[in-house]
Symmetry: C2
Amino acid sequence: MADLADLAGVSKITVSRALADSPLVNIRTRTRVQELAREHGYKLNVSARNLRLRRSHTIAVIVEMKPSSDRTMWDPYPLTLLGGISQELTSAGYSVLLTTRQGSSAAAVQAADGVILLGQGVRQDAVRLYDKLGLPMVVWGAKSVGDSHVVVGSDNRHGGISVAERFVSIGRRHPVFIGNPDHPEIAERLHGFVDELARHNVKPLLMRRDEFTLSSGVDAVHSLSRRKARFDSIFACSDLLAMGAIRALVELGHQVPSDVSVVGYDDSPLGASFLPPLSSVRQNWQEGGMLLARKVLALVEGQPAESEMLPTTLVVRAT
Amino acid sequence: MADLADLAGVSKITVSRALADSPLVNIRTRTRVQELAREHGYKLNVSARNLRLRRSHTIAVIVEMKPSSDRTMWDPYPLTLLGGISQELTSAGYSVLLTTRQGSSAAAVQAADGVILLGQGVRQDAVRLYDKLGLPMVVWGAKSVGDSHVVVGSDNRHGGISVAERFVSIGRRHPVFIGNPDHPEIAERLHGFVDELARHNVKPLLMRRDEFTLSSGVDAVHSLSRRKARFDSIFACSDLLAMGAIRALVELGHQVPSDVSVVGYDDSPLGASFLPPLSSVRQNWQEGGMLLARKVLALVEGQPAESEMLPTTLVVRAT
DNA sequence: ATGAAAGCGCTAACAA
DNA sequence: TTGTTAGCGCTTTCAT
């Protein structure tokens, strides 16, 4: 910058101001300096600026990457979240520092202006851990009572309700829920489902399955059949589970959807091109990511931010 | 740090050294300072350190995120790459700055010590663009002749060869290749496939399909059938394509694998739990990510680094 | 409209 | 083994 100042015959500070497009600087000097900078390939030293401004213009995104075969954030659809976050932060002039939970103790995370915590697992411990950083933080997941953090998530409860409504409206009386309610988000879906059904005096069967895989869905249905359970509809907590369930149903000679209706979750492209095309609850991950980003930025700038749930929609296809 | 120095009754530099665990500092002073730092919640100012050291300890990972429905890096499997990169960089004390191609002009990217370019598309333009940053750079993809960059990728050519070998060994004489050879990586697979088949006087049919989707696979087979092409084996460039092809084959009354053998690519969990379980070429993304990371770090430290191709394995299942 | 001085928090080089 | 000095490259405050 000093060199540039010499070249332009002005002082360092004028260069600084010119590059920041400050109206304090005469328009002609400004453009001249900017051109000079371009010509000479001048690169602003970000560290120096950050030191001076005491701001890193960086948001740390912490991904809970469990080693288990549980649904992790490296799964396909949640990653659209990252896309949304990245898009929004970038266009606001912030960068995304990506970390896993393991590496998050690194110095660079403390340097961030804010934190976005992405994790669907048992959340409270992670939240407490990062709270200690004392940075503005926004969490993706389900809002639990007495939790003072800003949480963004999709309206899982409403997702469950909408499936219950659908089942009731097509005359189903013996629904099954497949999933792992240890995840707060899944628990919400279950609660919505159960509560809405209860209003119609229907009580669903809970098939607890920890993994979100195809074979887990197959297994759940086999298990239902083995114990001769009576059921006419299945709400599975992921499209993969739902597809597994359908496969098992077909193997066992059931018709989908005439004998048994099946609804999945996530509305993945895969489910949509499944045979038969899967009915599923859609959540808008991209939008969720953008919202997360906007909320941290608000907090970073000292503005208030509220928790917010994104709407979910039941997409009815052939199952 | 100055405060800490006062507290400990030493100078700033001693604190600096103590926190860096320098053997120059007496072990007792060292531990005392470290404890004081912990107690008082001292946080190193990363920007200041970066400014002083002229190093950001950050590697920018640039993801080519095309708006098209082409295979993008936000697809499930390539993301395991990110996992590998992140793991390796983190444990080396580096952070990952995640950017998409759009946002990559941001100041923060220039501040990185090195760049990892992740993109499967038409690569040369992207490479040229980031070359201008003058930073150590490593590219994921296929090595093309006359390209002086460090490229890490999986041995796509060998992947193609191994499928050809398999087809020949089980007596197939009329193979089909489904995929988009505009991607350098796919082109490599095709070349390996064609060359190896040629050694056995077999010439495959190329079914060019731009999208890597299930329906694209369905469509390719329908098209083959419509034009009454003769074929007894299919090498599809992704598991999704392969699954679509199988679905279409079954619909058309063909038996898999007795009438037609099908091999996919990526060995995705989904393919493995497909019915019938899909044969597929496995590439080790995780390992690839780690390798990419190690190569940039080498370059950053001024050591030489060579391009490297990771081995691929044909996993034979039921198709 | 421009500039001079000061300092953000850290560490490398050179003393002591 | 510890400390002093200097300076990384930038921007804010206060002149001019």
